[in-house]
Amino acid sequence: MSAVTANQYSSWRRVLSPTGNTGDAVYRVLMLLIALLMVGIVVTMVWALATESMPSIRQFGFSFLKGRTWDPIRGEFGALPFIYGTVASSVIALLISVPFSLGIAIFLVEQAPYYIARPIGFLVELLAAIPSVVYGLWGIFVLAPFLREYVQPPLARVLGWTPLFRGQITGFGLLTGGIILAIMVTPIISAVVRDVLTAVPSSQREAALALGATKWEMIRVVLVNGAPGIAGAVILGLGRALGETMAVTMLIGNRPEISASLFDPSYTIASAIANEFTEATGDLYLSALVELGLILFLVTFIVNGIARVLVWNVTRKTGGVGRAA
């Protein structure tokens, strides 16, 4: 750089970019602006949700979070059953899906020959493209009867002494909702974990094997290496589970009640909004539904926060792939 430009322009260029290069400055500002745009959109959404739910917030305050009654005709609204249903169905979905997704990803990356891995990978990703409505219909005609006939009775016989497996067996309920969510979330998690595992350098694998590790022990090393990426995949899957509407609402029974049994019907926030939003008349009803949406935002926030803390704890000790510059 000439002495002239160093004096005239370098000050603001240097502020914008550590290298002082114009291209860099433009690039950094552009990326920042786009990121700010996203933040702006989310902030606008939250603000719009907050304004719309003001009537309900003013009416119920914090008791909305603790209330268990949802009676649109009488104007009594409480969100607790929905929060419970949303969290419970997502937890069930992740408990089922994460081991499966990891298993699939490990198999496809570490064990399967290339000509099998490619098409199977495609197929699993294809699961992500099935419309939610179709999952719901398949659930009603195939999954629910299957659970009702072959899965729930044995579970009730063997584990019926626990509060988790009691109640009327209809095939619809929290368990069914959780299972369909697990099926819908698996392709997302497994596809991303596949890419994460592929990116772990072969040197790690070779080092483990050279030290005498068995195949499984080598895979464990790879998993630890990819832990932050895997966490990101799980968060994506969790996001899908929390916000999924159609398929869940067709299978979960839609009863705003909290019950310990997995066989009993339940109700998620997303289902409630989808079911009642278009028909909601009256300001209080509408704003109660919007407040439910706001609460879902909060639940997602909190769950993401917990996930982040867990990941930070793991990666703090082990380092691993995926630390940005």
Binding site: I73, I140, T278, G282
Partner: protein, 362 residues
């Protein structure tokens, strides 16, 4: 494969992408007063009459190819909302609009009844081939959770000669807000004081017991696939899915089967007492052969249309609908309007104006 060849592939695909995008972005919109005088109208609302409205739009379109009308079923409430926000030209609702909704609309809204529907009681009981008989109190008690088993004395009393199993009744209701629920709860509130006090009438009531299924098709699907279930749904869904339908005791004391004729009878019986704005509930109607859980479904339009060309097409379409359109109703399991109601609907359509001038010369 060289880097340049790969970059070429990528660039080529991106160019195709951008080219298509520009092509799409530059397509001119149709809209009213577009090429050749085509007029586009959009309506949204109730899911229940959707199949009939699609038939109407198709048949009407054959006669008037310049009128491009679309209807999307998103629910009665959604239709009302979008009509008030003026993002659609007409709405459709099973239940008539409430007073507060009408007051908060930017203009006067007319209710034009189009067809009739019936909410039927359907059930899944293996080994029971004759249609069951239900009294109003029986239905209310089942849905209140007071009667829990199929072979309860109250059920067998009305159904002599039918062997009912000793199993639990699984009750199914609509989880989504719906006009069907509104009609059903309206009927139950009329026939059961306990229901009126405990639950009330509305599109999304707090059901005392049971499972919620989404949509008429959800209820029918659940009833069809789960034994010992009872549910309520629109007649067309029960018939199409070959589900048994219960006979209901009407206000005159007869057990009436829900058919197209008994539903039309319910509307005819109410024709004398129908208010001017045509917003009425005809559940539990008088009339020997009236089916007690029947209802109108309405198309909602602004009385004063902003666009004269669009308004004319709309008024003509509605006129065609309540006359020629009724002939298609029976095949699709909708009950046509009785003649007295058609007359009143005609008056409503004739009162539509655009900037003060009536749209139709009656």
């Amino acid at each position: 494969m060289s880097v340049s060849k790969r970059s070429f592939q990528l660039v080529a695909c991106l160019s195709v992408f951008v080219f298509l995008l520009i092509g799409v972005a530059c397509t001119p919109g149709g809209g009213s007063g577009g090429s050749g005088g085509t007029v586009s109208l959009h309506g949204a609302g109730a899911t229940f009459p959707n199949p009939l409205y699609q038939k109407w739009l198709s048949e009407h379109g054959k006669l008037h190819p310049n009128a491009r009308i679309d209807y999307q079923s998103i629910g009665s409430g959604g239709g009302i909302k979008q009509l008030k926000e003026q993002t659609v030209d007409f709405g459709a609702s099973d239940a008539p609009m409430k007073d507060e909704d009408l007051k908060s609309a930017p203009g006067e809204i007319l209710h034009v009844p189009t067809v009739l529907g019936a909410v039927v009681i359907t059930y899944n009981l293996a080994g029971v081939s004759q249609p069951l008989r239900f009294t109003p109190e029986l239905i209310a008690d089942i849905y209140l959770g007071k009667i829990k088993k199929w072979n309860d004395a109250k059920i067998t009393a009305d159904n002599p000669g039918v062997t009912l199993p000793a199993t639990d009744i699984t009750v199914v209701y609509r989880s989504d807000g719906s006009g069907t629920s509104a009609v059903f709860t309206d009927y139950l509130s009329k026939v059961s004081a306990e229901w009126k006090e405990k639950v009330g009438t509305g599109t999304s009531p707090k059901w005392p017991i049971g499972l919620g299924a989404k949509g008429n098709e959800g209820v029918t699907g659940q009833v069809k696939n789960t034994p010992n279930t009872i549910g309520y749904t629109e007649l067309a869904y029960a018939v199409q899915n070959k589900l048994p339908v219960g006979l209901v005791k009407n206000a005159s004391g007869n057990f009436v089967e829900p058919t197209i004729d008994t539903v039309t009878a319910a509307a005819a019986a109410s024709a004398a007492t129908i208010p001017d704005d045509l917003r009425v509930s005809i559940t539990n109607a008088q009339g020997a052969q009236a089916y007690p859980i029947s209802s109108f479904t309405y198309i909602l339009v602004y009385k004063d249309q902003k666009d004269a060309a669009k308004g004319k097409v709309l008024a003509d379409f509605l006129w065609w609908g309540i006359h020629d359109g009724e002939s298609f109703a029976k095949d699709l399991q909708y009950a046509p309007l009785p003649a007295e109601i058609v007359k009143k609907a005609e008056a409503k359509i004739n009162s539509m104006t655009a900037g003060g001038t009536p749209l139709r010369q009656s």
